[in-house]
Assembly symmetry: C2
Homo-oligomer: 457 residues x 2
Amino acid sequence: MAKEIPYKIYLSENEIPRQWYNVRADMKKKPAPLIDPRTMKPITLEAMSEVFCEELARQELDDTTPYIDIPEPLIDFYKMYRPAPLVRAYCLEKQLDTPAHIYYKFEGNNTSGSHKLNSAIAQAYYAKQQGLAGVTTETGAGQWGTALSMACSYFGLDCKVFMVKVSYEQKPFRREVMRTYGANVTPSPSTTTAVGRKILEEHPGTTGSLGCAISEAVEAAGASGGSYRYVLGSVLNQVLLHQTIIGIETKTALDKYGIKPDIIIGCAGGGSNLGGLISPFMGEKLRGEADYRIIAVEPASCPSLTRGRYIYDYCDTGRICPMAKMYTLGSGFIPSSSHSGGLRYHGMSTVLSELYDQGLMEARSVEQTAVFAAAQQFARIEGILPAPESAHAIKAAIDEAMICKQTGEQKTIVFGLTGTGYFDMVAYQKFNDGLMGDYIPTDAELDAAFTNFPPQP
Amino acid sequence: MAKEIPYKIYLSENEIPRQWYNVRADMKKKPAPLIDPRTMKPITLEAMSEVFCEELARQELDDTTPYIDIPEPLIDFYKMYRPAPLVRAYCLEKQLDTPAHIYYKFEGNNTSGSHKLNSAIAQAYYAKQQGLAGVTTETGAGQWGTALSMACSYFGLDCKVFMVKVSYEQKPFRREVMRTYGANVTPSPSTTTAVGRKILEEHPGTTGSLGCAISEAVEAAGASGGSYRYVLGSVLNQVLLHQTIIGIETKTALDKYGIKPDIIIGCAGGGSNLGGLISPFMGEKLRGEADYRIIAVEPASCPSLTRGRYIYDYCDTGRICPMAKMYTLGSGFIPSSSHSGGLRYHGMSTVLSELYDQGLMEARSVEQTAVFAAAQQFARIEGILPAPESAHAIKAAIDEAMICKQTGEQKTIVFGLTGTGYFDMVAYQKFNDGLMGDYIPTDAELDAAFTNFPPQP
């Protein structure tokens, strides 16, 4: 007889994965290499190490080693909030009256409120190992900045966060969490960097952008005389690697109960959560051991996979970072106002872009009012108030469960619930008041953004 | 050999307690009965049932039944966020360099952000069982209102929350969480009740008080023609009873690893968390089976146990609720501004008051800047950003651990971490900016408040 499945499958602490899984090792056709815009050639470890910690630069470029050991001090930190529960959404299933079985991997049970902490602590660890004084980064919605502040505080590293000015002003609570963890938070653009001053001169009233904040953070690290490095919370291969702890735990929990998922769903901004969740499953798929439907869900307002082009593009609007081949809307694309700040990135992880291009995963875009309706439904019946980003995956999971209801199929759906929405109540208020709209770029707007693509290598 | 103790001790779902424990049953000298101010005699079940659900009124008055079954639908709901982890504070111990072992029972892993949900769901369940249309309540800081909104949403009950006006305006995010769960939130005082209109007439600019909100909520329930009842999140015996799930789980987890605590610490406002945490341990103490030091920690700004009087007093400033014999500062006492809204109640649970009076537990008061310093220290090393209320217990736990460091004793300290501080960032900001002060009432201020005591029965 099958074991009864609890509401929450918790692994024990000694089941925390000891290795990350590098899905690139199992890809026959690898993601295209990052290009150094100065040479227009694949970037070298040396060039990467000017910006990133050496060990992280190595992880970034390594597309052959399948398993990479997680250092022991990281395991100790992970024990404070991991393993994360895999939850059976019994109440939601009952409410939907669907034969589908729905599971979600919940990454919100830590103070940063999201999965971002998984990579933040790894990046802080390697920075500490290298003897650095601190790290710099940018943050938009603030989840990454919060996670990095926590990680740096734990390892006694200085943490300089450039926070997009509009968020700095509109999300003072996120800012205060970072400050409580000892981070130095600067609204961007600022007068502390050359690029910031230039932007302020050209656009005196600007409220900032992620691209500008990235440029300031990179400049600040570079100006430190080598004692700081820049760190990033998504998009990069190293980040996806660290986030595979999500997917490995998920697979271990499912295997324990003999559950084989049919559909795996994740929201996709830069791709860190989705990549981390699906990697071990994608590995089986690549090795021909199993098959799964894998669905990336992105906002209709920033549809890089579903409406972007697969092409070399800059990773930042300041054009000082390496170029990556990815699905992109153009580094000059400015998504219309949306409340899922974590999904407002113009490009997509090169790994996910390549997997999508090879037809190994699906993608769909959803509109934000539908996303908030799903978020509210989920909050009321499953008790967890989701981050708007996470709610993209909820929306798709509900849609798939309703298809099962029509067809009568008992499919098993697993989705990633990346975090909580406690700092997103301005958006919920807009939804509660019926004042939320949908923003879908026109073809003409996208075509205009596409004219920004750089010359191809 | 002793089992290695993990960072987090999780019980399995089938170890969720099936019964609450009623500590009054083991008290030789019972808490003094509630007095009906209309008759000046012990309140009857009938009179109680006019205000509260019948089953809850029964629990309120029952001081002889030691164990009370938890209804099955509640167990199902508890499974969504319980058992709550008992965490070994390894990192904090190491940082303090103390021989003490520190554990905390963490109740913040649910969207309401605190232990309040344990009783909210029970009260909503009994209201539903009784066939009511909904419930009314008041909320100050908003944790109770949030918890009740979630509970009512789950059982399909209407939920009317009177929220102290100053909080309604200053804590819009709490308000929006409640609205997301479908609650009707009214700033108090309001024009929707006679008592609200009277107060607005007498004090046109008032920003409200908990006492006034209670009075409005009770009036609104009374005016419903019997289809609504009033519910309360602390102080009452029924609430302490429901919260014993905290203590029972804690004891089960400790027993599993053969751990015997020396000191048990909890913050104390109305007493629901502290009472729930300590009940099973106090039971052993009352039955002569074990001994523990039990410490209630209250804010220096509202020191009911440490500086109040043990006397019959009104439970609300509107003086429409029953009178209780309790440690109290007087129902007219207005605590100076403090950021631990959940601890700003003039009185203390009758059960805890009686236990304290019998010398079975200790009490101490702490100042808020010291509390926030402890909160920040804890957040940085243990990763959880605590609610200011919870941080009172952290402060006392750290103090006790530091005494162990001096004496070299390896004591085992257990404290209740009641919730998270995500909606308290205004207070953290004040602390981060060095703008937080301490507020300790003078003896003259307390003496003035004491003149408010009603005639004794």
